[in-house]
């Protein structure tokens, strides 16, 4: 039997539940080998209004079953994106969401307004793991009010789907999830990377020039499954699970834990065909269990 893997996620009809995570698939134009047939959607590398050079090297360090990165959101800014990438996306057979970033709620709002209506831009993923420069550098992502204000600022400027990418660096992810849902988010992506550090024993300094970096990869999977599950229990909008998915079983853990879809990040670095393999593995699992569609997959979502 063939199972139907299509899903509706936060205002978008997707042909499959496996998405490319922001910052791990570039602008989708980089690599000829990457298998696109199974891609549910792509989230672009995060951009700001203005071009950004990014941080000095070293930018990455490997850790057990994980990697730290501090890329510093290097990117062309909104004009470059509209000029160089969006026209290509417009021709593709899967939707592309733009991961948007800013230093103030107004900046997020302006960015979404600039991109609203640009052919090829199917929606937004708001990255709230950015420092709020107006409020003394506190992160938007761990203050429910700041997270909601960013979401509202974007919501007001676009009719396109708005997803919010949650940070794991919070005491209670449910509070943030509910705040951004109330502010108009159509879906949540959970989660972004965890802040980590690794020391160089020759230089007696951090390995990364930025000192700290975001931890991704299989090491964080049990933490990400838990946070995505907590978010899914807190809200009614769909949650997209992200963190350490290398193969179908890992994606299924997120789906069973209550997620509507998943994003694959670091795995693509290791295996450029990871997304297709995860998709195919989910299809094989569904077929073996006799589930005709993803809605039949049992979910573990106690509401207590």
């Amino acid at each position: 039997m063939t199972s139907d893997l299509s899903v509706e996620v936060g205002g978008l009809e997707l042909r499959g539940p496996v998405l490319a995570a922001s910052g791990t698939f570039g602008y989708g134009t980089e690599v000829p080998l990457l298998e696109r047939r199974a891609l549910g959607a792509m989230v672009s590398k995060g951009i700001f209004l203005k071009p950004r050079a990014g941080t000095a090297p070293p930018r990455i360090a490997e850790t057990p079953s994980g990697m730290l990165n501090a890329i510093g959101l290097q990117g062309p800014g909104v004009d470059g994106l509209i000029r160089d990438y969006a026209p290509k996306w417009a021709a593709w057979d899967f939707p592309v969401l733009v991961n948007i970033n800013g230093e103030s709620a107004a900046e997020y709002g302006e960015l979404s307004a600039r991109l609203d209506g640009v052919p090829g831009v199917a929606g937004f993923e708001i990255n709230i793991s950015c420092p709020n420069v107006e409020q003394g550098g506190m992160y938007f992502g761990n203050d429910p009010r700041a997270a909601a204000s960013v979401t509202e600022a974007v919501r007001r400027r676009t009719k396109l789907p708005v997803w919010v990418k949650l940070t794991p660096m919070v005491s209670d992810i449910g509070i943030i999830a509910r705040a951004v849902e109330a502010a108009g988010a159509d879906a949540l992506s959970a989660v972004n990377t965890f802040v980590g550090m690794s020391m160089d024993l020759n230089a007696y300094q951090p390995r990364l020039s930025f000192r700290t970096g975001g931890l991704s990869g299989p090491a964080i999977r049990p933490l990400a499954v838990h946070l995505a599950h907590q978010a899914a229990r807190a809200v009614d909008i769909p949650v997209i699970g992200v963190g350490g998915i290398m193969r179908a079983e890992d994606a299924l853990e997120f789906l069973v834990a209550g997620c509507r879809a998943v994003q694959v990040g670091t795995a693509t670095f290791v295996n450029p065909n990871a997304i297709a393999e995860v998709h195919d593995g989910i299809a094989a699992f569904m077929a073996a269990k006799g589930f005709a569609s993803l809605s039949e997959l049992p979910r573990y979502l106690p509401r207590d």
Binding site: P32, L33, K45, G54, R59, E62, N202, P272
Partner: protein, 255 residues
């Protein structure tokens, strides 16, 4: 558009070429048929570190590619522990290689230590382009010199004078027009002093090797960063901001 291959490549050969320096041969026919000098492959082992590790292609013959390495960390140690028939996942060819299309009659290859890695292919491609090849190769001591240097002229150099010229490869090299260089980033910085127009293959950390992670940033003299895996790893020496390029690298994964 270039073509990229992902293949499970069995180890088919292993030979020593200097103290602690080994050449490993893998059966990877598509990569062998298409690789150019200066390009690399990104190698992953099933039970190894999470990320792949980049290696210049040393030789390509028939259905086989070769890489040359020393054990410097977990990944390389694990590769050297492979037995014949064990399989490594190879992704490549990656990156832009040396450009030998520029008008020249001769080419000088300058390599320090493991910087020999891209040179045998460079010799091949330079000969195919009808160039006279001088290869200047250096190491700390005589027994660390790679035994497979090749070319119309070969000049050896050692830091301790135990073989060839006593001093660095940059000091040992004759005047030259078209220069291709590979070695520690510190050596390449010296190359850029003498030959700003040299083509140098730099090393950085790499997350993906395919242009999507932006982890392999090479700081440019003109400002901003390039991706070593995509725009590089070969650069005009003058284009690289050598001060800002890390000279000591360590992934330092453990356990």
């Amino acid at each position: 558009m270039w073509r990229l291959f992902l293949t499970d490549a069995p180890l088919v050969e292993r030979r020593g070429v200097a103290r602690d320096m080994w050449v490993l041969g893998f059966a990877a026919p598509e990569i062998a048929a298409s690789v150019k000098a200066g390009q690399f492959v990104n190698i992953g082992l099933r039970l190894g570190s999470l990320l792949r590790r980049p290696f210049s292609v040393y030789r390509a013959e028939g259905d086989r590619i070769e890489v040359v390495l020393k054990a410097v960390g977990v990944g390389t140690a694990q590769m050297l522990a492979m037995r014949e028939g064990d399989v490594a996942s190879c992704l490549g060819p990656l990156g832009c290689g040396f450009d030998l299309s520029r008008p020249a009659k001769s080419v000088t290859l300058v390599s320090g230590g493991l910087g020999v890695a891209p040179m045998p292919l460079a010799v091949r491609d330079a000969r195919a382009a009808g160039l006279h090849v001088t290869w200047v190769h250096g190491a700390r001591t005589a027994d660390e010199l790679c035994s497979e240097t090749d070319g119309d002229d070969v000049i050896l150099a050692t830091d301790d004078g135990s073989a060839g010229f006593a001093g660095t490869v940059v000091a040992a090299a004759p005047d030259a027009d078209l220069v291709l260089a590979c070695g520690p980033n510190r050596m390449l910085a010296a190359v850029s002093q003498r030959w700003p127009q040299a083509q140098v293959a730099v090393e950085t950390y790499m997350g993906c090797g395919t242009g999507v992670c932006l982890g392999c940033a090479v700081p440019l003299t003109g400002g901003g960063y390039d991706r070593a895996c995509t725009e590089g790893p070969v650069y005009l020496a003058a284009d690289v901001d050598w001060q800002a390029l890390p000279s000591h690298l360590s992934y330092a994964v453990s356990a």
